[in-house]
């Protein structure tokens, strides 16, 4: 009897051990999964609702001072006044001026920003790159600038995508799109409203841009 009860206890203990180890292995696999991770989707480099009545497409280079001025002087106020209200959607397109003196790190910045956009961190990295333009465009410290606004885990994912060439094609396709639209300088801005696309000057004043957007909204 003691033998049978001992055997039963041993069997129960083994079954429990097997269950626990199986669950543990599953848990380990689940924990390991994010590292191997489901491949992130294509980058979303837009700000605002997809149902906004006006769409602004900005071809930009992160090293370009005029692009920075446009970001600080127009895009930031637009985010508050129009994007937050669902009136405008801003789409960023990378147009790194590779080969132009002073733009040696533009492509790297575009790659980091595109990788960040693939994990939903576009806005943070976009802002950081423009804010710290004077630093990284001079010494190439793109990684450090991006590291300051991302969590270690997100930064690791971004670095992995940049180093393994997983975002080059997206930057290239943005540039090809710009070339097909005859973009020759940055920033080049297209505003689409009511099915009609207009080219807007890059160094436009915010007050005139506002008037134009209001006019489009009132149509």
């Amino acid at each position: 009897m003691r033998f049978w009860s001992g055997l039963a206890a041993f069997g129960a203990a083994m079954a429990l051990a097997a269950t626990v180890s199986g669950a543990g292995a599953r848990q380990t696999r689940q924990q390991a999964k994010p590292a191997a991770e489901v491949e992130p989707g294509p980058p979303d480099k837009s700000l605002g609702s997809s149902s906004a009545p006006i769409v602004m497409e900005v071809f930009s280079d992160y090293s370009c001072p005029v692009c920075r001025s446009f970001y600080i002087g127009a895009i930031r106020p637009l985010l508050e006044d129009y994007v937050a209200a669902g009136k405008l959607r801003i789409i960023h397109r990378d147009f790194p001026l590779t080969g132009v003196p002073g733009h040696e790190h533009s492509r790297q910045a575009a790659l980091y920003e595109t990788a960040a956009a693939r994990i939903g961190k576009f806005e943070e990295v976009d802002a950081a790159l423009y804010d710290k333009q004077a630093v990284w465009s001079h010494d190439g410290s793109v990684d450090a600038v991006v590291a300051a606004v991302l969590s270690p885990r997100d930064l690791a994912r971004v670095r992995e995508m940049v180093q393994n060439g997983k975002v080059d094609s997206y930057v290239d396709s943005d540039k090809a799109l710009g070339t097909s639209k005859r973009v020759s300088s940055t920033p080049t801005i297209y505003v689409t409203a009511h099915g009609r696309t207009e080219l807007v000057p890059g160094n436009v004043s915010y007050s005139l841009l506002r008037r134009f957007l209001d006019e489009q909204l009132q149509r």
Partner: protein, 163 residues
């Protein structure tokens, strides 16, 4: 200038070409929001914003009027002078804003809408139009200063009758 003479033909063709360019320039501006043209003018940073807005309201209509008058051949001295002044202002502003080899913040010339950045090509085109306009203006003043055939005949008749 005698009608249908080579000089007359040259002047007529020149006027129609220049008038057509002015009409096209006016059309490209009037078919879109005047604010787009105001932004293009403002981008030159040569005048306050309110003046850029006012200019964007008025200039396309002036271009339209000059274009029609040039093609119709009316008020030749006035229209040729107006075209010359306008083109000289455009050319000076473009030359001032031209940044050769720059890929950042290029200013749109604003000549025919907003798609064309200021380039050596657009400057040469504007320069050629300015030269044509100056030639038309000189010819218009030259023709106006010469006595007309009817007047000449009257003068000749008067001289013959005098003795």
């Amino acid at each position: 200038m005698r009608r249908y003479s080579p000089a007359w033909w040259a002047m007529t063709v020149g006027r129609v070409i220049l008038g057509g360019v002015f009409l096209y320039a006016a059309y490209t501006k009037l078919r879109t929001s005047f604010l787009l043209f105001a932004m293009a003018i403002d981008a030159y940073k040569v005048m306050p914003e309110w003046m850029a807005v006012a200019t964007a309201h008025v200039l396309p209509w002036v271009e339209l009027a000059v274009g029609v008058a040039l093609i119709a051949g009316i008020w030749r001295r006035l229209t040729a002078t107006a075209a010359t002044v306008l083109l000289a202002v455009f050319f000076t502003a473009m030359a001032h804003a031209y940044q050769p080899d720059s890929k950042e913040g290029q200013i749109s010339c604003g000549c025919f809408g907003l798609g064309e950045p200021i380039s050596a090509k657009s400057l040469m085109r504007d320069g050629a139009l300015l030269a044509l306009s100056v030639a038309l203006m000189i010819a218009a003043y030259y023709v106006a200063r010469r006595p007309r055939p009817a007047k000449l005949a009257a003068m000749t008749a008067g001289n013959e009758a005098a003795p």
